[in-house]
Chain length 159, copies 2
């Protein structure tokens, strides 16, 4: 079967937005540890529940988790979503880390509505990490590699 | 629907081995860049074709790619596979980086047989990166988090 025609920019953005708000969607979240003295840092990768609220990627994390610690120290995450032949990749920076109990209802309700759990029911120790995407790429087959940047510098690309 | 009963160790290993040799399987490969002077290093994450040859994860990479450069400098990769509710995670170290043209036939043929492309047809500039898994974890739902380490220190767990 020959690959499908590459999607238009508008279609890629529409497909990506549909994925970002999908209920119970998970994301592969890659972070890096603080470097040791020799400049080596450890890549870390976990699958996490994901919510898209007000154009931000919101993760709920135990503040003791390695991903939370890496993000507090480093402020950079790269998030992979979708099956691996229908990729969405987000390069994000940490905008805010807020204790679950202190978060506005909009964030807590929005997270619980999209994710399949509610960290407010877990007691203390959880935070929402709010990530601002700076770049988003979306592609399926190699014929979609050109034009895969659908967001640059925090702005959705214009057709 | 209540979650299924947790799988036995033997079943997890069998399921994981079946996934590792699946044709045209992709993997999310997380690496970290060399740290800058301030100790910050950049997490990197890409989906890549994957082959499992002689108990090693083999990736074929353009030697100019960021993942190849990170692995040559850092020697550590964390690889996520499977849909995000049926996870396999491999913590690996680089064992060998070999130019595609210099690789033994067993490696080139094995890679081409499992992956859906053959880097030997791409001319110069590609390498096989051979990664030795030190730890493998496998789980589906949260009831499978206990016992998720199915390989430790390079050895499959014993039942």
């Amino acid at each position: 079967m020959p690959p499908a025609e590459p999607r238009s920019l508008g279609q890629r953005i529409a497909d990506t937005r549909a994925l970002l708000i999908q209920p119970a969607v998970d994301a592969w979240v890659a972070t890096a540890s603080q470097a040791r003295g020799d400049g080596q840092s450890q890549p870390y990768l976990v699958p996490l529940s994901f919510a898209w609220i007000d154009e931000r990627a919101v993760l709920a994390l135990a503040s003791s988790s390695r991903t939370a610690k890496n993000l507090v120290q480093h402020c950079i995450a790269r998030i992979g979503m979708g099956p691996t032949r229908d990729i969405v990749l987000l390069d994000c920076v940490v905008e805010q880390v807020v204790k679950v109990a202190d978060a506005p209802a909009r964030m807590g309700d929005g997270y619980a509505a999209q994710a399949d759990w509610d960290p407010r029911e877990e007691g203390d120790g959880y935070v929402y990490v709010v990530l601002r995407p700076e770049r988003i790429q979306a592609w399926r087959e190699s014929n979609e590699l050109p034009g895969r940047a659908i967001m640059r510098d925090g702005e959705w690309a214009k057709g």
